[in-house]
Amino acid sequence: MGTCLVDLFYPKAGLAGMQLLRNAGVKVIYPRKQTCCGQPSFNSGYRKEALPVARSLIKCFPKDIPIVIPSGSCAGMIKYHWSELFEGESDIEKALSVAERVYELTEFLVDKVNIELTDLGEPTKIAIHTSCSCRNEMKVADRIESLVSQLSKVEVLEQERKPECCGFGGTFAVKQGDISGSMVKDKTDALKAANASCVVSQDCGCLMNIGGALEKQNSQLKTQHIAQFLWDRTNAGN
């Protein structure tokens, strides 16, 4: 599964995830009719609007095979909140059968694929931003660390207050724009102080927030989704 944010804003990250899986010998299907897990409106209180959107996704994943998502927050939405969203609905069983097949991408790469990576890139220093949903909800924040540790020429630098939220929070960034702005400033300050050349994360929401703020500040620090980072480094020039 791709997620709505990846489909329109980070398609290369989504593609890289699929290529990593394919290269590791996994047969990958990308159902074209998928849209969104329903999280944006669910987190804004509009559950009645989230329901038909989530429901449209069920039809896309009828086969009993794992569903891999390059985002901790979308994976968490389906895995842990669909039960609440579909509560009392006639198709709750179907929804739950989708939910139990969901994996976040790095979780799947480490736990199920046991992927082995060969670093073909130039030596570089990165900082890892572990998203809140990967850390607190999906409990897979350590998977990104373990994948990166396989890359021999990548040094991971630690920033201050690493586990703190970057301030994205979906519509929070618009509804409480100034608080969100202050949070992302604290986050980018900490990341810049780490002196890395790139920030890598499992979630595109965080990257849109952190990356957008860094760009606005004219910082040289780049951001990249973990899937694309891994794909680029293991397939140099490809």
Binding site: G14, P31, T35
Partner: protein
């Protein structure tokens, strides 16, 4: 509308106060670190949380029965029980006790419930002198402010600001910015006041139904002074503080102090089981407990939200909340700030009044991860958001349900639903968004004040998947 504006103003004020930001940033980092040090083994921590959570769940599900049992056993112990449905009733009960005893001066230990009912203001207006004796509360009272944190009321003040609050009122002492020296001076001032006071008022951390025991956790000894020196002791607490058995106390106490201030144990732990008995030389001659409802029984009736009442007021969710760290406690404008505040206050005071508070959350989940009694705070906050815009008015369990539904926002989500629930419409939308990405909005409100505005990619993932030869099914 007044409320929205004032919340906005308070947020502005907090975000523009760099000193405040620095104070909270350093205080919260310190508290998080201290808590972490107390729980080196995650597995053990989770076991302890499970035990504490079960105890509190039992307390809450059996609340009515336990309260009756508590009353019986307290009365057996000669502690008079008073029931108050509202803050006004609670204040009047306290005042009546003071009046009957012809009491003029009161010393008070730290109690959030008395903050909740604004007892100080009430008694002030009746001409009673009431003095806060917890150091933080004492400073907050001197500065004519409200607590900014439920455990550390003066945490918004740094060393300099503390000194100023103190020496503005007590210029006779030699000026210092050494907080330990100030503490000693405050203790001197308080010593006489404890002796002279007609009544001592305290809160309660746990009320044990089985034995009729009131437990009080504190660090400064002022709680023990308030509850033992004056001839009358009045304890005030919320009805949810009851627990079933005495054996429930050790695990709760242990996880409370570790979660709250990162202390393995507090300096004082008081178990109060009766006023002075015949032949005893100290202790108050009479004791009262005021049990306050103030919206709690309504929360109890609401199965979706009942877990709110499990809270043991450790403040850990507050210490770990990144939004609270940005704002501090005063911006919330409520007695309880942070994650527990935005969960509890809209339920108590109604969504029409305080529904906006639920927007002070990024859904990061940090609060739920540290709550010692496993309250699913993010889930409850999310539920309240849905109550605010689409809640069912006939189910009157949360006042003001649906009152925050705004036509424009609702229309936007309807449109979003139309597009995203229909793969065909979405595919057209997606084509327009990617191919005509140069016409996407350049500014997205406040988002663009702090970040560049994202622009859709030229090709969607669907197109890239086609090109790279990935199957559709």
């Amino acid at each position: 509308m007044q409320e929205i504006k004032s919340l906005e103003n308070r947020i502005d004020e907090a975000l523009n106060n760099e000193q405040l930001h620095a104070n909270f940033r350093s205080a919260m980092s310190y508290l998080m670190e201290k808590r972490r040090d107390q729980f080196p083994d995650e597995k053990q921590l989770n076991n302890e949380r499970e035990v504490a959570s079960t105890i509190r769940s039992n307390s809450v599900t059996q609340l009515p029965e336990l309260l009756i049992k508590l009353e019986e056993n307290l009365e057996k112990n000669n502690i008079k029980v008073h029931w108050a449905e509202t803050d006004l009733e609670a204040n009047n009960i306290v005042y009546q006790i003071l009046k009957d005893a012809n009491a003029k001066t009161v010393v008070k230990g730290k109690s959030m419930v008395t903050e909740e009912i604004e007892l100080n203001e009430f008694l002030d207006n009746k001409g009673i002198e009431i003095l806060e004796t917890d150091l933080g509360e004492f400073l907050v009272q001197l500065a004519n402010e409200k607590p900014s944190h439920i455990v550390m009321p003066a945490i918004h003040k740094n060393r300099k600001e503390i000194s100023k609050a103190f020496f503005d009122h007590f210029p006779e002492f030699p000026y210092t910015e050494d907080v330990d020296l100030i503490t000693q001076q405050v203790r001197k001032i308080l010593r006489d006041r404890f002796r002279q006071a007609d009544v001592g008022i305290s809160g309660v951390n746990f009320a044990v139904a089985e034995t009729g025991t009131l437990c009080l956790v504190e660090n400064e000894g002022n709680g023990r002074m308030c509850t033992t020196v004056p001839p009358i002791h009045i304890a005030v607490t919320g009805i949810e503080k009851v627990v079933e058995k005495l054996s429930d106390i050790p695990p709760l106490l242990d996880i409370l102090t570790k979660s709250a201030t990162g202390q393995e144990i507090t300096t004082y732990f008081n178990m109060i089981s009766s006023p002075r008995r015949e032949g005893e030389k100290d202790g108050p001659k009479s004791m009262h407990l005021v049990l306050l409802d103030n919206g709690r029984s309504k929360i109890h009736q609401n199965n979706d939200m009942q877990e709110t009442l499990k809270c043991i007021r450790c403040g850990s969710c507050i210490n770990h909340c990144p939004v609270y760290t940005q704002l501090g406690g005063h911006a919330y404008g409520t007695v309880y700030p942070g994650p527990i505040g935005i969960t509890l206050e809209p339920q108590k005071q109604g969504i029409a009044e305080l529904g906006e508070l639920t927007s002070l959350c990024t859904m990061c989940g940090a609060c739920g991860e540290v709550c010692p009694v496993h309250i699913p705070l993010p889930k409850l906050i999310n539920k309240l958001r849905s109550e605010a815009v689409e809640g069912n008015n006939t189910n009157d369990l949360i006042e003001g349900a649906r009152s925050k539904r705004k036509p424009l926002e609702s229309f936007a989500w309807q449109t979003w639903k139309q597009v995203y629930s229909n793969p065909f419409i979405y595919s057209i939308f997606s084509k327009i968004a990617t191919k005509l990405n140069f016409i996407s909005p350049k500014k997205l409100g406040k988002w663009s004040k702090y970040r560049t505005t994202p622009r859709p990619s030229k090709h969607s993932l669907k197109e890239l998947a086609n090109q790279a030869g990935f199957d559709n099914e």
